[in-house]
Structures are given as structure tokens and as C-alpha cells.
Amino acid sequence: MSIAAEAPTPAFPHRHLLGIEGLTREEILSLLDLSEAAAAQSRQVDKKSNVLRGRTLINLFFEASTRTQSSFELAGKRLGADVMNMSIPTSSIKKGETLIDTAVTLNAMRPDLLVVRHHAAGAVELLSQKVDCSVINAGDGSHEHPTQALLDAMTIRRHKGRFEGLTVAICGDIMHSRVARSNILSLNTLGARVRVVAPSTLLGEAVDRLGVEAFTSMRDGLRNADVVMMLRLQRERMVSSLIPSQREYFHFYGLDAEKLAFAKDDAIVMHPGPMNRGVEIDAQTADGPRSVIREQVEMGVAVRMAVLQALARHLPNE
């Protein structure tokens, strides 16, 4: 069965999904509604529809990813598309072929939908200028990761039923995080109050100008929060002297029961994965009753189905 029959037809006017920036509240909400229908479809025995039958989806990943790539792959397959995965390690790019060369080559294979992850901010947008198909940003450097923000919004709405009046604390490596940027944009657009919590070396310059309140202590940042969103900390941050050690980081910023107690009693705990248990979050909290981390993964597939579907409506039909 087709989920399009169930869901209200969203008016999603964009050809590409390059970021949350530029999306209106209504557009985001319409994608979330479409995602709900997709989530229902994914919980059926027969999970497959034919909305994208005959369409070709290429997953183009210049940066290694397991969960995002498989999530898009599954989303495409559940909608009936032919899915091809291309992983291009950075080393072969360095051999001379530029991103533009790759884009032109792929375009000649006539894909309908192109999902791209790249290590450089703006790379997906650059690529979108060179191809005829719809492009979805699956993460570009430290810039945006729009489907992650959408799945986070959907998970929040399923638990809290609203965005207005909610306080969301995003904690960790804000400076390097595309997840943080997309979530700040999306949650602000949806009406939530957004806080960021990190040591000053990981907050990023002028982050308060993005419409967030910045904190350097978990106690202050988590106070009365409805949602606690943890970010992954990469090991290389220690090499570049942004933080002194893993244990010091965990002591001050790692989420455990003690720090979670500052948040509201019904606060939910989120993480975009993959988690470093014992670095930014301890195992009990990650697996505890307030954790919605596994649900985020499930909603990831649903959101990506919704996005593929919304963009496919702009594809030529003959």
C-alpha cells in the first residue's frame, strides 16, 4: 500500500533538501506528518510501497557512515526505489578527481535522487548545482544534517506532543557538530527554546547569535530542560587541545544520572549516535527508561522515507 494515500499531501516546494535553513515551520511540520505515516508503514508486516518504483536512488558517501547510509538505503527500498550505495573514501578523491568531476559522472547515470555526505561544509550544495536530480544532504562537514534534525523533532513531538514552550539542551561538541546546527535551526523554527552546553573551546564563536542560550555548566544548562540531547565527542578534539582528556570531559560534561537530575523529571535523553559510552554519556543513562535513542533510529528511517517522497513529487514524470 502507498503511504501517500494516507498522509495529507504536503506542499513541499523545494527540489533539494540541503539544510534546515530556509525551511518554514509549515514545511517542517508537513514533513513530520508524512514521517508519521511512514513510521506506521514501517511497523506493518508488508513494509513496502511503490511510490518510488522505477526511481534510482544513489547514496554517495564521501565520509564513512553506517547508520545514516543504511537508514537511507532502507527508506529508499521501502518506497520501491532501486538503491545503489557508493562509498568514496577521501583517499581516492585526493588522487585528483574533484567533487565536480564525480558529480558530473554520476549525473550521467541518471539518478533521480542523490543522497550525499561529504566532509566539507557546503560541498553538497556545490554538488547540487551540477546535477539534474534531487539532492539530499546527509551531512556536510560542520554545517548541516537536516534529516537528523527532522528525526529528532519527530521523536520529540511523539513524546512531548508540542514544541512551543519546550526547553531543549544540546550538549557537547557544538562547534564541530552539524547535528547541533540543524537542530538549532529546526527547533528555533518550531518554537522551542534551545540551549547549548559545552566547554568554551567547543562552543564555537558567536554561537549565541544563532538564537540559543549558551552554558558552560551542565547544572545550569540542564536545569528544567524537557529534552537533553547529547552529541558525539570525537577523539581528535583531544589531540587538538580543545579538551584535556576523556575522563575530565566525562566528569564535567558526560551525562549520568546525577547530571540528568537537573533536568525535568520527565525529560527525555537523545543521542544521534554512534555513542561513546563513558565519554559523553554513561551506559545506564543511554539504556535507561528516559532514553529515546533507539526510537530515534526507527524514526530516522521514517523521516528519510518522508523526505524522499516529498522530493520525488518534483521529479519529472515522463
Binding site: E21, T98, L99, I100, H118, A120, A121, G122, A123, E125, L126, D140, G141, S142, H143, E144, M175, R178, R181, G204, E205, A206, V207, R209, L210
Partner: protein, 442 residues
């Protein structure tokens, strides 16, 4: 053989004297701004004044300027040219052709070539190639440290004797304070000018644009202005220690202007330049990752841009450069963080500069001074003046003519201009080098 231009002809004086008549003569160095004529003979300015009119000089041809401005040709202290080693980006021939079209009669080419201009033979090579192929005067700036590595001092004395006009470390700062001290002290013995790029390599590491809100929104690594001021502060202390003549190649922020002002107030031999880009553009122009706006130092905030304009207006900033840096598609059509820095600027230098004049931000004299007289003074060149006996390196400018920049029309081999489709008011109509017209508009 290079057949693009007539070899050597560029610098051979015209046989017949030429009178530029019915002109507004501007000599920024003396403050002269008068109606009259100018006589070119033997490649130099033979005479000028009210008495030079059509037919006043026997045997001379005359060119009626129709009341338009005759000024010293522009002297550009920072041009990155691809020769030798990167001829696919730009040659001395193409750079000089672009210069001529922009009213620029003298270019200083930077030593960031392959091989680096850190050897007498390379200086000689550039001068010979320029003589044979270039339309305008070319002066090589040599590397102040071997291979621009900032580790060993280059042969400043020999390089100077070979014709190096000044010394620079190109696009990098000498991080080692001891080397910098020695360069300044040693150069002082030769009266040589040290032109230094300002960027603390550790603080700027990984950065691709100005640090701040725009970089944070774009998810790009920023470069704080302190990367510039820390090096400038240090250098000025070393100037104080050594007495060497020091020129900050390009400043880009208000804080640097303050440092320069205080150094000048203390009477130190310190001067500075700014690029035309930092006078007319800011970080917001990057928009959606437009790599033609990626440069070094990075475009800063609007407040910094205003400070640069104030600095030129007050004379605290001595020199305006194009920072002409040709880059091909292979370097620019990339994700922003991976793209090359740099923008071409020779052909748009005057037009963009005149924006400041038309906006009432900088007087015409101050603008033209920063583009000709001041660089000539710093470099010890006889040009940059409208006086008898000075070289007839001149530009006839229509101050009001509207025109639109079109990338595809640029003469430079690379067309990475941040001014594509910009509307300018005022441009070079005729450019003279050693008395010979090397460019006619239209």
C-alpha cells in the same frame, strides 16, 4: 616564441612627442589638480601645465582628453603571477595586459612562484621575461627567506643588486621571531623594504574565513583577527629593536589599524597596505560558500571594512593593492574549505577604488595617492608623479563612465573575480607606459 605582444616595443619610447591636452591633471603627491596639458617625449614627462594646448608644441601629436583626468599610472605592490611555474594561471604577459586595462603601469610580482624567487637567477629571469613580454613595468619582490620557509635568510644584498624591489615572505608569516629580527636588521643595511604577510600560522590553522557568526552558521572554521594583530604587534616591536623598514603587506581589521596608528605616532618606519577587496567587500559577501570571495587574509566584518576605508582616508593606510591572485577552476570549483584563496584584481582595482571616491568616503587625491604616489615612495621608484622628468607612466581616467564587470571579458588568464557583474563608475581609457599607449578602452 611568445607572439602575444610585440617584444620590447612596449618600453621603446614613441619617436614623436605626444601632447595630452584639455585634461584635468592630478598629481596626488604635490596636490596638483589643474586644468591643462602634458607633453610626453622620450618616454618621460617633458612638460606640463596650462600652456600645453593643441598645437602649442611644434611637431607633437596631440590627444584631446575632453576634460578627463590624467594621473600617474597605478602602482600595484601585490600581484601574484604564475610565471615561472604556474603559467596556466597567469603569465607576465597576461598579467601585464590585465594591468594595462586597469590603468596599472607598474606591478610588483610576488615570489610565490615555482621555483620561488629567492635566487639572483630567478630575479634576472623575471626581469628578462618582463622586458620581452610585458606591457607594463614589472618589479620582482624577492623572497626574504629561502624558499619562503621562514628558516634561513635569503641573499638580500645580491637579490637587491639583481633588481629585487623589496623583500617579502609571500603568503606566509615568518613565525620565528629571531629570523624576523635578523631579516629586519640585515635588510636595514641595504635600505631594503620588508613587506610582511600577517597571519599567525598556529592560530589560523584550519581556518578558512573570518571567525564569527557567519563562519559559525556556515559550519566553517574561522580565523580570528588576533592571528593578524599578534604578528603585527610582534613585528612592530622588532622594528623598534632593529630600525628596519617595515611594510605590513595587507591589514584587514580595525585592531590592526590601531596598531599601525600607534606605531606611526611613535615615529617608527612602519607602513601598511590594504587590498581593494577588504575596502569594498565583507564576510557576508561569501553568501552560499562562494569561493571567489575566499581570500587571505579573509574578508572581515563590515566594521572592519569601514575601518579600512577610514584608514585610507586618513592616510594611516599607505597603499592599496589589488592582491591579484589568479586561480583556475581546478582551485576554485571546490567545497569552500578546500578551495584556493585569492582573487584577480588588476582590471577592477581602479573601478572598485573609485567607489570609495564616489561614495564620498575617500578624496580622489587620497585614493590616487594610495594607488600610485605612496607605493612609488615606499619602493623608491621615480614614477607615481606628474612632474617634469618623471617617467611617462600615465593613465587617462574617465571618472564618471559607468561600466559593468564581465568575467568573460577579463584579460587575465584566470577570471576568479569577486566583482563579476559589479557596476562601477569610472575607468581607465588610455594607459601609457614609458610614453607609449599600451591600452585603449573600447
Amino acid at each position: 616564441m611568445d607572439t602575444e605582444h610585440e617584444p620590447e616595443a612596449a618600453h621603446r619610447p614613441l619617436r614623436k612627442p605626444l601632447a595630452l591636452v584639455n585634461a584635468r591633471l592630478i598629481d596626488p603627491a604635490s596636490g596638483l589638480d589643474a586644468f591643462g596639458g602634458l607633453l610626453i617625449a622620450g618616454g618621460t614627462i617633458a612638460d606640463l601645465g596650462m600652456h600645453i594646448t593643441e598645437g602649442s608644441v611644434e611637431g607633437a601629436e596631440s590627444l584631446d582628453c575632453g576634460g578627463r583626468t590624467v594621473a600617474p599610472g597605478l602602482i600595484d605592490m601585490m600581484v601574484f603571477c604564475g610565471e615561472p611555474g604556474h603559467e596556466h594561471r597567469e603569465t607576465l604577459a597576461t598579467a601585464s595586459s590585465a594591468a594595462a586595462a586597469g590603468g596599472v603601469t607598474t606591478i610588483c610580482c610576488m615570489p610565490n612562484t615555482d621555483p620561488v624567487i629567492d635566487d639572483v637567477a630567478l630575479v634576472d629571469f623575471v626581469l628578462r621575461r618582463a622586458r620581452d613580454t610585458a606591457l607594463v613595468q614589472v618589479h620582482p619582490m624577492a623572497a626574504m627567506t629561502r624558499d619562503l620557509k621562514g628558516e634561513e635568510i635569503a641573499e638580500l644584498g645580491l637579490l637587491r643588486d639583481a633588481g629585487a624591489i623589496a623583500f617579502t615572505n609571500g603568503k606566509s608569516s615568518v613565525a620565528n621571531a629571531k629570523i624576523m629580527r635578523n631579516v629586519l636588521a640585515y635588510a636595514k643595511d641595504y635600505g631594503a623594504l620588508i613587506v610582511h604577510h600577517l597571519e599567525d600560522p598556529a592560530l589560523a590553522e584550519g581556518g578558512v574565513m573570518n571567525e564569527g557568526e557567519v563562519a559559525t552558521r556556515l559550519g566553517l572554521r574561522g580565523i580570528p583577527t588576533e592571528a593578524e594583530t599578534i604578528v603585527l604587534d610582534r613585528d612592530i616591536r622588532l622594528v623598534e629593536l632593529t630600525g628596519g623598514r617595515y611594510h605590513a603587506a595587507q591589514i584587514s581589521c580595525r585592531a590592526s589599524l590601531d596598531v599601525i596608528r600607534s606605531a606611526k605616532a611613535r615615529g617608527l618606519p612602519v607602513t601598511c597596505g590594504v587590498s581593494i577587496n577588504h575596502l569594498t567587500l565583507n564576510e557576508n559577501d561569501i553568501g552560499p560558500y562562494r569561493t571567489f570571495f575566499k581570500m587571505m587574509p579573509p574578508l572581515r566584518t563590515e566594521d572592519d571594512r569601514r575601518a579600512m576605508v577610514e584608514g585610507v582616508a586618513s592616510g594611516d593606510i599607505d597603499v592599496i593593492v589589488s592582491a591579484h591572485d589568479p586561480r583556475g577552476a581546478e582551485g576554485k570549483r571546490r567545497p569552500f574549505a578546500e578551495a584556493n584563496d585569492g582573487a584577480v584584481g588588476l582590471e577592477t582595482l581602479l573601478g572598485a577604488g573609485l567607489r570609495l571616491y564616489h561614495n564620498g568616503e575617500v578624496t580622489l587625491h587620497r585614493l590616487l595617492s594610495a594607488l600610485s604616489a605612496r607605493p612609488a615612495e615606499l619602493l623608491g621608484l621615480s614614477g607615481g608623479r606628474l612632474v617634469k622628468g618623471a617617467p611617462a607612466d600615465l593613465v587617462l581616467i574617465d571618472l564618471e563612465m559607468p561600466w559593468t564587470v564581465a568575467r568573460e571579458d577579463l584579460r587575465s588568464k584566470s577570471t576568479n573575480t569577486p566583482f563579476d557583474e559589479a557596476r562601477f563608475e569610472g575607468r581607465a581609457l588610455v594607459t601609457f607606459v614609458a610614453g607609449r599607449p599600451v591600452y585603449h578602452y573600447g
